[in-house]
Subunit: 339 residues, 4 copies
């Protein structure tokens, strides 16, 4: 961390600042220029609050050199983390495919889709029971009943399940879920992050719609600092000025997050695009760019889906996508590359 | 709502769509052009899910004409809502000033600031007990103890208090709080919105960092649809490409939200700017543009604040700001103007 | 186009609006509801100015149904456009690779790189002579001398050349250039677009940093409406809140632009990322997602490049990338897919 | 400027970097830590190209401490610049009002509006002759004839005129124009900036739709580095996710730009909002926040305007606005305030 002082900084305040800083367990390297004095902080600065330093009147600017996250940082954990969930591995060079409907609708639907995606080669089953909807008048999911149906489908197919938790009060219901998904709108629900950090279940953490890589990794850090190291990062599209697609898939998030962090990185092409016919090109792009997997919406009858049918692909399209992915994987990018 | 069909739409699907639509309690007005057929929906469409319509294969596009919110809509409630909290009125042509520190730090601090802002003319006291912080290693607030100190300061000064709720599990502690604040990062925490909609306490709802007016009003709608009509909207700056300021205050939100909705609209210049010396110009701008009030950070010793001191103004600056505001108010914009 | 009138619209103004509209060579389809009247415009509306309609006091809202571009619209030109430049074809299912340094620096540099990329399989040579730089104090390119050196390299290698035109006053110098590039910052330099539309040279039009697909296609329309149909669209990354990468590559632009338009779509992974080690994953993603080619920066000595060396890959990395692309192409997405 | 090296940086490369840096006319201050070496650059770094430094393999990151602009920097020019145009002063504590129609349409229109706004107290006349339009099919302005009519209106009313230049080829026609406007889409048309920097006419430089304060000031720097110091900065709204308003007025740009620079800062509320009834609140906000003036669209018959009528206010509304502004000015914010 580097602190740039204002010109002609008051010496009493300078002493006060130095005293505060040394109390933070770092050592100081001070360069007094003719016009400007610069303080370099040496040691672990991840716990130091930038905002407090900026409050000192004599401080002109503060710049971080080290990232403010530690548990999620590849610098301190050079090897890829491999998360295990229900016997399936995510990360470390493989390609895990999570597929299923946006919402669980009924037993016949979820079972049929689960069997179909399994046959095509999917590794895990997704399906929404608790649904975050912009309007209070939209379908809010089958909730507890949806979880029950997902667990039925797991029993039949053997596919581990991934589903979204929206509030701490629902946590008890998730005891048999294999991966808990934290949605984009909850990425900075810090109380939730702290609590799920206390269980040891794998967490699929989606990037917020207007959040940076560092903010995503700080949210992962919240979970990991509470004790749970099984975090899977998910790029699901960010908000941009383009409204033709629902969101904009940030494909660079794959090499970027894998450079900054050792955690697995998967891609959700369905929510990113919001348009079924873009799911195949985006999935292939994610595979080629080095993602650790995808989470993709598949529906056996998209025009009757209770939500998001417009972005779901059908089982035959999914089957063809799986075939294409298998051909691309041997030639895709290996990350992190050496410089 | 207007539905545009694809060219040469299949007639069986057309019938299916018409059947689904008439089941939604609206009547249809169909214009069959040579190339394109358009369906106009007549009646209340706020409960209709756009996404379901888009799933019909024959649908090319759907466009809303009516806003999807009802309780928060000025069209159905032409008169300004005036929210009362602890004897103070917000909305309806007045100008309410909420002031206080970012975080409650100790009894002496909160009491001294409360007395000072009261003397300068503030109507309510703000102060954070539960603090949403990007880093798990930053100060997280005094929590329950912070609430206790706020209630002490209320007892001494008589100022009603506003403070942030971060999770439903904290709700019981807020029984004596006058206004519950929902922070920007929780604006789309839908489970939280539903639950606080069941109490009758005034809610100060902050706009999310990358959310639109309509999304803010849909979140207000969640609260109101659950029964609580006492919602105060707060513009607190949005994320833009500019990083010199912490966020970008959207001053147009004042006339826009007051046009779209009957709810009071206040402005938070402190979080918007993140720079203490910009708080005065932004507060004056908010007053001139027709806001119903401001919520502003004041600290008696900003360089020792435990968080956000860089954006807090001192009591003398606040006193001078109040004086300027009093001069500007008679000449400010009255909203909503007639066209 | 659909026009929604305000409630209780004045009938004299309604007549005035209808008169103006029928003067625009479209026929009207009027639906008078109980509360709201809606006018549907039937016929070609691409020439109608939305802003003029909005000025009528009685108009509440106007919504386009048809896209406002015609020449660039796939609806009117279902088959892929194939642009020919110096004997090389771009579009129509192939994959064209344009490679070379960011800036032309000297004869030895440009010739060596040209020969190297040709050997690896590049189809065209890129190189900047006129350089748009944010600072007036940065290197502005070799300008006319840079063009001369590019033409030398073309003579030696036979590779057609692509280079950027910044101002109309430079146009005469570009007589022997094969493809004129219009940079992102000039995407809405409308006078420039009109004038280059009067020549018949292929134009590589880069998407602006904060522009939508429709705005890009409207800029293509400017060129095409002036007579020049040889337009190549280029996605080069957009500005988002993420600052770790220089810009954010919008990979969905490939299927989206190819759905909306018949023009070829290529990707610039180098400017999008601004980081050399991300160029390979982004190039593979572009190939997999169905792009018609890439334009990529290659430098034989990146740490001595006069500009943008940090985002240039070396000849061996480029050679390896070409090899990987050849394996991926047979399995990539074919666009536009049928629904 | 501070350069952070990678761990275990190669010493030959370190020597090469040091040699290159000392050739840039700065002195170096090197801090060799146990893990990381940091180089501080002392002296004027505004001419140093960050991108070149980043190319050195051993460089991990580079951070500017000084702003990269000099001529436009308040640090080097503490006093406000006052620009004179046709006898009117802009900057230095006054409030200059520029008013007129979006487009010049005919002699009767421009003369009538000019006389009307003069009577209400406007100081200068605006009016578009060359119009940048997104669609090639929209009205492109009266061009040379429009300039002639503006000069007529100037002769009659004595109001100096402000109008937009879109391309260098039009420059000769602007000989008698008092202030040349450079539009938002041309803010980074660097060839244009260089050339208008060679004349001595005042330049009103509009901020680009997605540009930062620093980028705006770098564009001012282009003009000033060429010799022309008469630059007026104009905040006209930026693009955000909000589409209800045309753009989002960044009211903080006023105190921010006046802190960073000595140049006058005016606000365009008409283009920012795109909605006539928001022009009054935004203008009052700009006055209260300390702007040096506004440029506002006034039309005597908005529903017949050839472009942008929806955002023009009528003469009576303008007259009332002027009255309100006069009352607010004595109590507005004086900038730059001392900390």
């Amino acid at each position: 961390m580097i602190i740039i002082l204002k010109e002609n900084a008051d010496s009493a305040q300078f002493e006060a600042l130095k005293k505060w800083l040394t109390g933070q367990n770092v050592s100081l390297h001070i360069s007094e220029g003719i016009q400007q004095t610069i303080i370099g902080l040496i040691g672990d600065t991840s716990h130091i609050d930038l905002d407090i330093i900026k409050q000192f009147d004599i401080v002109d600017d503060v710049k971080r050199i080290q990232e403010p996250f530690k548990n999620a940082n590849r610098k301190f954990h050079p090897l890829d983390t491999v998360v295990e969930a229900g016997g399936v591995k995510i990360g470390g060079g493989g390609f895990t495919v999570i597929a299923g409907p946006c919402s669980v609708e009924n037993e016949a639907q979820i079972t049929a889709i689960a069997e179909s995606v399994k046959k095509s080669g999917a590794n895990m089953l997704r399906g929404g029971a608790f649904k975050p909807r912009t309007s209070p008048y939209s379908f809010q999911g089958l909730r507890a009943e949806g979880l029950r149906l997902l667990l039925e489908a797991k029993k039949i197919t053997g596919l581990p399940i991934v589903t979204e938790l929206m509030d701490l009060s629902q946590l008890d219901l998730f005891a048999d879920v294999d991966v808990i998904q934290i949605g984009a709108r909850n990425m900075q629900n810090f109380e939730l992050l702290k609590q799920i950090g206390k269980c040891d279940k794998p967490i699929l953490l989606k990037r917020g719609l207007a959040n940076t890589y560092q903010e995503l990794l700080m949210s992962a850090e919240y979970i990991m600092a509470s004790g749970n190291k099984n975090v899977i990062l998910c790029e699901r599209g960010i908000r941009t000025f383009e409204t033709y697609t629902r969101n904009t898939l940030d494909i660079s998030a794959i090499p970027a997050l894998k450079t900054l962090s050792h955690l697995p990185v998967i891609v959700d092409p369905s929510h990113a695009a919001g348009i079924a016919r873009f799911v195949v090109p985006l999935s292939l792009a994610a595979a080629a760019a080095g993602a650790d997997g995808i989470i993709v919406e598949v529906h056996n009858n998209p025009s009757c889906a209770l939500c998001d049918g417009a972005q779901s692909i059908t089982p035959p399209v999914f089957d063809d996508l799986m075939e294409k992915i298998r051909h691309i994987l041997p030639f895709r990018c290996k990350l992190p590359q050496k410089d």
